[in-house]
């Protein structure tokens, strides 16, 4: 029985039993549903084996939305627990698990999933490519990310969740002080999905550098593609650090090494150091694509070209370098002395300069424009003031002497939420609404969208502004409870109300998706927003090969030029198109990775070795496989093109 005991949850509660039941029931429902509607073949052929960047993008999107709700439920529970002093909704252990998983899920599986979803769907279209450079690798990336996410969420029902914060500082996260398997889940799940992210990084750098349409020089790329390029460069150079740190952490926990222990020379702060060497660039990995989305959206709905294109690009390049030289500001209070703190304080504040340039460039893009307040535009416009507040408080945190007072307090929590929510979540919602017609061929309802926007933007302010105050009043973060005499109660109650507002906003978005899927018109044309870049030059829905004829580009807003200035995008005749074949290997390989991760977490070495053999067998299969893809004939392209047009004429 010993063998099975390890799979039990250490602190079960009714909530956990209920979720276990819910998960089992959902799984059964999905399986029964798929069988009943005979969709297994469809699922396998069209989704599980696909290498099409658009479908992979949509799968990322669905996973990210699911994770948004998982992390969101965590958030609501946290805010509910702290809404009143001495509240007993959750005990300390549960609260600790919830804020740990909230951070991990939101950063790694929601935000990363979301940005990669949009990059996957949009970038190849924006540069006029047929697919990414390595379509098969792209599928592997997605499935690794997905399996990592599933593995992490499994901790909720099998073996117990991590409870030492999303940063997992040692020695607290070490095997002595965190004996449950929770932190093993953290280490392995992030390792697996991190591997996927690294591959995405390489894939998109090559895609952007090598597969652009003729005429699209680097300085004629749309801004979202530029932000994608810079983001992926940061990914490629930052994620290996996480890989090493996680490997060392895993070895400390499972193999008794002494990297971060408190005995035999181990150094706990080295974990913090390595974590943030990756962690600070990660912040920019999340926010740069958002900057790209805002550039597209603001320019589209202000009906103006993007102001200061060159300085926009330059500022991102500077950010990509600076993001690697500021990490020590996450532990100014470690005692490393005034000199080190001064150096990193200055580099930290220096990042505000390129970021400020971008804010002013957006304002100048709006200037003399013809501003239409659509839902994506509303998110972009609300982003500017809220992000400015989040940003300037970041500069305040960068002043290390004062940081001694802000560190580890709710002030910090307020700061990074006011950066990440407008900087990532608003951008993703803007991008989702903006590109939705391209993805699914219909628009999301504007009225419901505006309601959702109001709840989300006001909710964000109401939820996080009070934290500045309670932080300055001495409320440390991650406290599951506090006494009445502290006076934190009122601020936390306001936060809770704001969090409810956010929750209503997100529910409205789901309702909007449901409503629009049922009732929205399918006749939206190829370019419903009157936009500027290439993705709107192809049909709705986008055919498998993206563009029947490869477009020729003359500026960063090629479609706009073709609409207004008589530029011809499509000059060549139809030619046969070469496309990659689908493959089930990426999915199978990721299943092996999942088994590998799971068995590693529970130290079941036989299955670890077996799954490793499986992984290598998949790689071997790929190496020996002679797969040159397939060709789509001119007749077939003609048929597809006329069908798409025909559908529109109905």
């Amino acid at each position: 029985m010993d063998f099975f005991e390890r799979f039990l949850i250490p602190h079960p509660s009714p909530i956990i039993y209920a979720s276990m039941a819910a998960i089992v029931l959902t799984t059964i429902a999905i399986i029964v549903g798929l069988t009943y509607f005979k969709k297994w073949g469809y699922l396998w052929r069209e989704w599980l084996t696909t290498v099409d960047h658009k479908k992979i993008g949509i799968m990322y999107l669905i996973s990210a939305l699911l994770m948004l709700f998982r992390g969101g439920v965590d958030a609501i529970m946290m805010r509910a627990q702290t809404s009143m002093p001495e509240n007993t909704l959750l005990d300390a252990q549960h609260y600790n698990e919830i804020f740990s998983t909230h951070g991990v899920v939101m950063i790694f599986f929601m935000a990363m999933g979301f940005i990669i979803a949009l990059m996957n769907f949009v970038i190849p279209l924006q540069i006029g490519a047929r697919d990414v450079a390595y379509p098969r690798l792209n599928a592997v990336s997605f499935w690794l990310y997905f399996m990592g996410a599933m593995l992490f969420n499994l901790s909720f029902v099998i073996g117990g969740s991590p409870s030492s914060g999303w940063t997992s500082y040692f020695p607290l996260a070490g095997s002595e002080l965190s004996p449950s398997v929770g932190t093993n889940y953290y280490m392995l799940a992030l390792q697996i999905s991190g591997l996927g992210t690294l591959m995405t990084g390489i894939n998109f750098i090559v895609t952007i550098l090598k597969m652009r349409a003729p005429g699209m020089t680097l300085m004629k790329m749309p801004m979202f593609t530029w932000s994608g390029l810079i983001t992926n460069i940061i990914i490629v150079f930052a994620f290996p650090v996480l890989t090493v740190a996680l490997a060392m952490g895993t070895m400390d926990r499972l193999f008794g090494t002494n990297f971060f222990t408190t005995t035999d020379g181990g150094m706990d702060m080295l974990w913090a150091n390595l974590f943030w060497v990756w962690g600070h660039p990660e912040v920019y990995i999340l926010i740069l694509p958002a900057f790209g989305i805002y550039s597209e959206v603001i320019s589209t709905f202000a009906k103006r070209n993007l102001y200061g294109y060159n300085s926009m690009v330059a500022s991102m390049v500077v950010i990509s370098l600076l993001s690697f030289v500021v990490w020590v500001h996450h532990f100014f209070t470690m005692g490393q002395g005034a000199m080190v703190n001064s150096i990193f304080s200055i580099t930290t504040m220096a990042i505000a300069i390129p970021t400020g340039i971008k804010i002013f460039n957006w304002l100048l893009t709006l200037w003399k424009g013809k501003i239409v307040f659509t839902v994506p535009m509303l998110y972009s416009l609300a982003f500017i003031p809220i992000f400015t507040i989040g940003g300037v408080t970041g500069v305040m945190l960068g002043m290390s002497a004062a940081d001694y007072q802000y560190h580890n307090t709710m002030f910090l929590v307020a700061h990074f939420h006011l950066v990440i929510i407008p900087g990532v979540v608003f951008a993703m919602l803007a991008g989702l609404t903006y590109w939705w017609p391209k993805m699914f061929g219909f628009m999301l309802n504007e009225r419901i969208g505006k309601w959702a926007f109001s709840f989300i933007s006001i909710g964000t302010c109401v939820a996080f502004f009070p934290m500045f105050i309670s932080g300055l009043d001495g409320q440390a973060r991650r406290m599951y409870t506090y006494s009445e005499s502290t006076g934190f109660g009122i601020w936390n109650m306001i936060s809770f109300i704001g969090a409810i507002g956010l929750a209503i906003g997100f529910i409205l978005i789901v309702y909007n998706i449901y409503y629009s899927t049922r009732y929205a018109s399918r006749d939206v044309g190829d370019d419903p927003w009157d936009a500027r870049s290439l993705e709107w030059a192809t049909h709705n829905p986008v055919p498998e090969y993206n563009f029947a004829i490869t477009p020729h580009v003359n500026s960063s807003q090629a479609l706009w030029d073709s609409k207004k200035n008589g530029h011809t995008l499509f000059r060549d005749g139809l030619k046969e198109i070469h496309m990659p074949n689908n493959s089930g290997v990426p999915f199978v390989m990721s299943v092996f990775f999942f088994i590998f991760g799971f068995s590693f977490i529970f130290s079941m070495w036989i299955t670890v070795i077996a799954s490793l053999i499986g992984i290598f067998a998949c790689m071997l299969h790929r190496s020996f496989e002679n797969d040159h893809g397939h060709h789509i004939s001119v007749e077939e392209i003609k048929r597809t093109e006329s069908e798409v047009r025909g559908a529109k004429n109905e």
Binding site: L209, N273, F324, V325, V328, M334, Q336, V340, F344
Partner: protein, 94 residues
């Protein structure tokens, strides 16, 4: 047979052996830490450059700018990481 051993490669190999020999001097001769580290840094980076340009053909393709950028970027960030870590973990306290 001779065409299989291009002079440039052979010279490069000999040069890398020489560099290894020079690096070994820090073991055989008594010298200051600073001096030793200088020798090691110079020989190690020279060896790396040799491999990169001569054996790895970094500069031969149409993408050589990207390749060099990627390698330099990696080296710069790696050096920053090493020095920054030392600064924060060790040097800052002294």
């Amino acid at each position: 047979m001779k065409e299989l051993f291009p002079a440039k490669h052979v010279m490069g190999f000999i040069f890398s052996l020489v560099l290894t020999g020079v690096a070994l001097s820090v073991y055989f001769f008594d010298m200051s830490f600073f001096m030793g580290m200088t020798i090691l840094l110079v020989t190690a980076f020279a060896q790396a450059a040799l491999q990169l340009v001569l054996f790895m053909h970094a500069g031969e393709s149409e993408d050589k700018n990207t390749i060099y950028t990627s390698v330099y970027y990696g080296i710069i960030i790696a050096v920053i990481t090493v020095l920054g870590t030392m600064l924060a973990m060790i040097w800052g306290y002294v």
